[in-house]
Symmetry: C2
DNA sequence: GAGGCCATGTAATGAGTTACATGATTAT
DNA sequence: ATAATCATGTAACTCATTACATGGCCTC
């Protein structure tokens, strides 16, 4: 069910085609929160249209259909956002890896942690730039900027955790 | 494919039955990285046994079977952990919600952010206690302590992000 | 006109959840 | 004895990925 809310949310932000949505899932939101492939998106857009939660608001070249959220769709989304979160799906393959490294030989573990330490620093910086670009000039926060800043905080956290793990490693080495 | 590595990793940590694994997925690892239900675990344990990656190392009451990782299983897990991460599945329903709140009315958004701010502070503290309990007395880091500390860093990050979002909100209010 | 990207869709397969089903052991 | 928990399994269904399939538009 989460997919439909992700679609409603992205479309409320601004109207888009199935193709556009596929691109957006490949970055931002899809990197942290929820991703989907076009083969799942197109059928869901059809269903949402049938249920009156979205509608075609424009057409373009190559059979392009641009969808927008209806009033019913907005209400549906709001209801979901304000409902109790009850623990939903969590799936994060990268994290799974990190959780399992404790059984590796120390040199393998250290290599991986050092990789994480370096990668996350780079990613945090990149996202900080993204955030600055997004907010440059405007006085309010565009939709994507919450996600971008969340990414910055998250990567910094992973970075700090990797540093902590490496330090612990060194402590126990001698 | 991630499920089998999660199982190999948990079993390498210490032998366990399908039932035990189900419980462990319901906490720690299952809260942040990967979760699974017993109906998915039992068939996978059968397949892993058939492939010689795990084996029954003990039996108990009520038809209980305790599994342990074989040498082949250890090698398989290590190969996976040391392979290039290439972006894998990400699914996080709670985060999806947070990404979509930008379209809500300010008062709704603030309420949700304040909830997040309070909840994450509580969760971070709880996990810090868990970590202390886990490491109390021992000199090395038990497997679960990496996960616990990761949780601490993550919740603190979410907490700081929520505070940031609320501050931005106030700034733009007047 | 050739290659790359835009754009939509369906089919087959795999992964994951919910519901169904059964029975043993333990604590009260 | 009765309820709670331990313990394993299968069946039906839904959700998600990979592969198949088609064609228009744009740039060089």
């Amino acid at each position: 069910m989460s997919l439909r809310y992700a679609l409603l949310g992205l479309l409320r932000d601004r109207p888009a085609s199935g193709y556009d949505l596929t691109q957006r899932f490949a970055q931002g939101i899809g990197r942290y929160a929820w991703s989907a492939k076009h083969s799942q998106i197109y059928p869901e857009l059809r269903r949402l249209t049938e249920e009156g939660l979205i509608e075609v608001v424009g057409e373009g070249a190559r059979g392009k259909k641009v969808y927008g959220v209806t009033e019913a769709g907005r209400a549906e989304l709001r209801d979901w956002l304000l409902s109790e979160p009850k623990d939903g799906t969590i799936r994060n393959e990268l994290l799974l890896r990190l959780f399992l490294i404790s059984g590796l030989a120390p040199e393998d573990r250290i290599r991986i942690l050092e990789d994480v330490e370096a990668e996350t620093a780079k990613l945090a910086e990149q996202l900080e730039d993204t955030f600055k670009t997004l907010t440059d000039g405007t006085d309010d926060l565009p939709a994507g900027s919450y996600a971008a800043m969340f990414g910055v905080y998250s990567y910094r956290a992973m970075h700090n955790w990797a540093r902590w793990a490496l330090e612990e490693q060194h402590k126990r080495d001698h």
